[in-house]
């Protein structure tokens, strides 16, 4: 039996402190928490930074470190700093050192890095070791060279190596969401299908219960499967909440690919032990012939400046598309003549179809429209320059020549907001490796007061 305590779906999301305390009292074998995902977009991997604030991260991490010290078991975080890039790992390591020096703790820290060298990835592509997953974008040597960060997603083997150092705390770069939970149960001989399935059910904390906000859950792994127990006083796990979690953010509800194989839950049985605990058996782990790790990469693709104007005049609202088309034509021509360069102007109509664009065929107009001007260009200076040329149009452009100059509402001065560099995800591929540790780097640091 291995008991894994999962405080919440991600560090920075918050959790119910009483639920965490209840979990610690049950003497878990390890505390595991996820530090990120791609879900907030390419900026974080592109820049190697965290989505959550440093203060919130430090406050929650301090509490988890204290819980770990109380339980006397390892604490592990995967995908540190939202994206799991090396810089984001260093950021959390620095926060950890700060907390340790404030509390006077003695700690062994294992640091697992997932960042990949661009030139090594170009070589791997040339050797045929990088292959696309479904819906992957085309890649080339040039795109790989352009990535500001490439990370490989570590699996259970790399996490086990980190735990084998005897670390009190493991700070890992990009890992699969599940590997930080499955690693210890697998290492101790628990059922492999159950280990991966339980890890998938647990990766979002209490999301697979009736009280998603309570955060903390315990998963007990054993020789046949796993048992899920919510730690929140009001939270209940039911066969439905648990089995339905395989749907979540997963394109195939039966199969989950991981380094070294895949999980198949088609034969799983979900049994209510009582009104709040669920036991799952029959999940299957299918090892693969090749050992592959998934790659994620982001590259800088330009700079953006955004403006927002609000149109409330009924005649302009009724003719908003015509008005915008006319502005686009005139402003694009003017900017080409005056500054040249490569740029793109988009006017997105908030209150019309800004959310779904051309897919939205049933929108109903309101009394006002927000016109969001988005200028994308190859340099920050050019994007700002073109956005400034857009300004007089958004302020005063008339629907016809024969009317008084209108004036529209700007909520801010200046109306242009620089978004800085913009990034794109450019990899949905796997990398084949001979040895799981080949492309990951493990170091150990002993912290003393």
């Amino acid at each position: 039996m291995v008991k894994v305590l999962i405080p919440s779906g991600a560090l920075g999301l918050g959790y119910d402190r009483e639920a965490l305390a209840r979990g610690i009292a049950l003497q878990p074998d390890i505390i595991a928490i996820d530090g990120g995902s791609t879900d907030s977009g390419p900026h974080y991997l592109g820049t190697g930074t965290s989505k959550y604030s440093r203060s919130s991260t430090k406050a929650e991490w301090r509490e988890l470190m204290a819980a770990r010290a109380q339980a006397g078991v390892p604490l592990i975080i995967g995908t540190a700093g939202t994206c799991g890039a090396d810089d984001a790992v260093d950021w959390l390591v620095e926060i950890t050192r700060e907390i340790a020096s404030e509390t006077g703790e003695t700690l062994r820290l294992a640091i697992l890095k997932s960042g990949q060298d661009n030139q090594a990835m170009i070589a791997a592509l040339g050797e045929g070791r990088i292959t696309p997953l479904p819906a992957a974008p085309d890649i080339s040597d040039a795109i790989l060279a352009d990535c500001t960060n490439i990370v490989a997603l570590a699996g259970a083997e790399q996490i086990q190596a980190a735990l084998d150092t005897g670390a009190d705390i493991v700070i890992a770069g990009r890992t699969t969401d599940t590997a930080i939970i499955s690693a210890l149960p697998l290492a101790r001989g628990c059922h492999a299908g159950g280990a991966w399935h339980g890890a998938k059910i647990g990766e979002c904390g209490a999301l697979a219960t009736t009280s998603p906000n309570s955060g903390t859950i315990m998963i007990d792994f054993d020789a046949d499967g796993f048992t899920m127990t919510p730690m929140g006083s009001q939270a209940r796990a039911t066969p439905h909440t648990v089995s339905a979690h395989m749907l979540y953010e997963n394109s195939d509800p039966h199969i989950l690919f991981e380094p070294g194989g895949h999980l198949d839950v088609r034969g799983s049985t979900y049994t209510a032990i009582d009104d709040r605990q669920v036991r799952v058996t029959g999940s299957k782990w299918v090892p693969s012939d090749r050992y592959t790790v998934k790659l994620e990469g982001a590259r800088l693709v330009g700079y953006q400046t955004v403006s927002l104007a609000l149109v409330r005049d009924a005649r302009y609202v009724a003719n908003i598309r015509t008005w915008c088309d006319d502005i686009m034509e005139k402003c694009t021509a003017k900017a080409k003549a005056r500054v040249g360069g490569t740029f793109d102007i988009e006017l997105r109509l908030i209150g019309v179809d800004a959310t779904l664009g051309a897919l939205d065929t049933s929108h109903v107009a309101g009394t006002e429209v927000g016109v969001m001007g988005i200028v994308t260009a190859q340099t920050e200076a050019l994007s700002r320059e073109v956005a400034k040329m857009l300004n007089p149009y958004l302020l005063h452009h008339p629907l016809t020549e024969q009317e008084e100059m209108p004036t529209f509402a700007f909520p801010f001065s200046p109306p242009e907001m620089s978004r800085g560099a913009i990034h794109e995800f450019c990899l949905n591929h796997v990398l084949e490796i001979d040895n799981p540790m080949n492309v990951f780097r493990l170091t150990v640091e002993d912290i003393t007061p």
Binding site: H254, L359, I422
Partner: protein
């Protein structure tokens, strides 16, 4: 006309990584599941997303009373053309479709 949102208990769309979108229709009970599973075609859903039906994956999950669709994301998450970073708004397209 009955819309899907009037029959289903919950319709949710989410990213399944930056390159895929997945939509879960929770029907609530066996009757609603039978009606929805039979009442919406993959061709209808492909039309909603303006994609080829061949790139749409469909799962009819009777045990869960869920019909699930997965498709390559209409725009890759976070590209300049993408309007919804988490992909949660696409569910509205299905909610408003006729059953």
């Amino acid at each position: 006309m009955t819309r899907l949102t009037d029959v289903a208990t919950k319709i949710r769309s989410k990213n399944a990584g930056p390159f895929w979108l997945t939509v879960d229709i929770f029907c609530g009970d066996a009757d609603a599941y039978a009606r929805i599973s039979a009442g919406i075609s993959s061709a209808q859903v492909a039309d909603l997303f303006q994609i080829n039906q061949a790139s749409l994956k469909r799962f009819d999950l009777a045990d869960l009373h869920v019909v699930k669709f997965s498709l390559p994301r209409p725009c890759v998450q976070g590209t300049a053309a993408d309007r919804d970073m988490h992909g949660a708004s696409f569910a509205n397209l299905l909610a408003e479709m006729d059953v």
